[in-house]
C-alpha cells in the first residue's frame, strides 16, 4: 500500500474531466496523471494543490497520507 493515496480518478470521473484535460489544466503530461491515478507517483505539493483546485475539493479530500504505507 503506497504512503500517499489519492482519489483523482473518482473525482475526475465525477466531474467528467478526461485525463488530458486535467493534465492541461495543471501543466503536466497525461502520463503523469496516469501515474498519479495508479498511486505510482506522488506529485509535488504545488501540483497536488493544483489538482485539488481543478477538481474543486480540498487537498485532504483528494490526497491521503498513510504513515504505514510504502514510500
Amino acid at each position: 500500500m503506497p504512503a500517499i493515496r489519492n482519489q483523482i480518478r473518482e473525482l475526475r470521473a465525477l466531474r467528467e474531466i478526461t485525463q488530458q484535460e486535467l493534465a492541461d489544466k495543471i501543466g503536466v503530461t497525461r502520463q503523469t496523471v496516469i501515474a498519479m491515478e495508479q498511486d505510482k507517483y506522488s506529485p509535488s505539493l504545488e501540483t497536488a494543490f493544483k489538482v485539488a483546485m481543478v477538481l474543486g475539493v480540498s487537498l485532504e479530500q483528494c490526497f491521503q497520507y498513510d504513515p504505514r504505507g510504502k514510500r
Binding site: T29, Q31, Y41, T47
Partner: protein, 142 residues
C-alpha cells in the same frame, strides 16, 4: 503504442536507438580503432541525434515536460554518474595493475590509443545506462 508515449519518452527511445546504432558497430565490428574512427563516431552520433530529435519534435504536437520528467531525468543522471565513476575506478585500477606488472608502457602510442578507446567506451556505457534507466523509470510509471 507510439501515441501513448510522451515527448520525453519518444526522445529517450530515439536517443537509445541512435546510441546503439552508432556505438554498437564501432565497438563490436572494429578490431583496430583509431583516433579518426573515434572522431567519426562522435560526429555521427551528434548528427544522428540532431536529425532524430528534430523529426520527433516536428511530429509531436504536445511537447510538455513536467516535474516527473525532471525527476526521472535526475535519476538517469545519477545512474549514469555512478556507472561512470565505478568504471573509472575499475579502469584506473586495471591501468595501474598492467603498468605494475609490466604489460603496458605508458609512452607507447598504441597503449595511449587503447586507453583512449577504453575510456571512451566507459563514457558510452554510462550514457546508455543513463538513457536506459530513464526508460525503465517510465515503464514502471514512476
Amino acid at each position: 503504442m507510439l501515441k501513448n508515449l510522451s515527448y520525453r519518452e519518444r526522445t529517450l527511445y530515439a536517443s537509445l536507438a541512435a546510441e546503439l546504432v552508432v556505438y554498437g558497430p564501432y565497438f563490436f565490428l572494429h578490431q583496430q580503432n583509431s583516433v579518426n574512427n573515434l572522431a567519426g563516431v562522435i560526429v555521427a552520433i551528434i548528427l544522428l541525434q540532431i536529425i532524430v530529435q528534430s523529426v520527433i519534435a516536428a511530429v509531436t504536437r504536445n511537447r510538455v515536460t513536467d516535474e516527473r520528467d525532471r525527476l526521472i531525468e535526475l535519476r538517469g543522471y545519477r545512474a549514469g554518474y555512478l556507472t561512470l565513476a565505478s568504471l573509472m575506478v575499475l579502469g584506473l585500477g586495471m591501468l595501474w595493475f598492467h603498468v605494475a606488472v609490466g604489460h603496458h608502457h605508458l609512452d607507447s602510442r598504441m597503449a595511449g590509443l587503447h586507453f583512449l578507446s577504453v575510456f571512451f567506451g566507459m563514457l558510452i556505457i554510462a550514457d546508455i545506462t543513463k538513457t536506459a534507466t530513464q526508460i525503465v523509470a517510465y515503464w514502471k510509471a514512476l
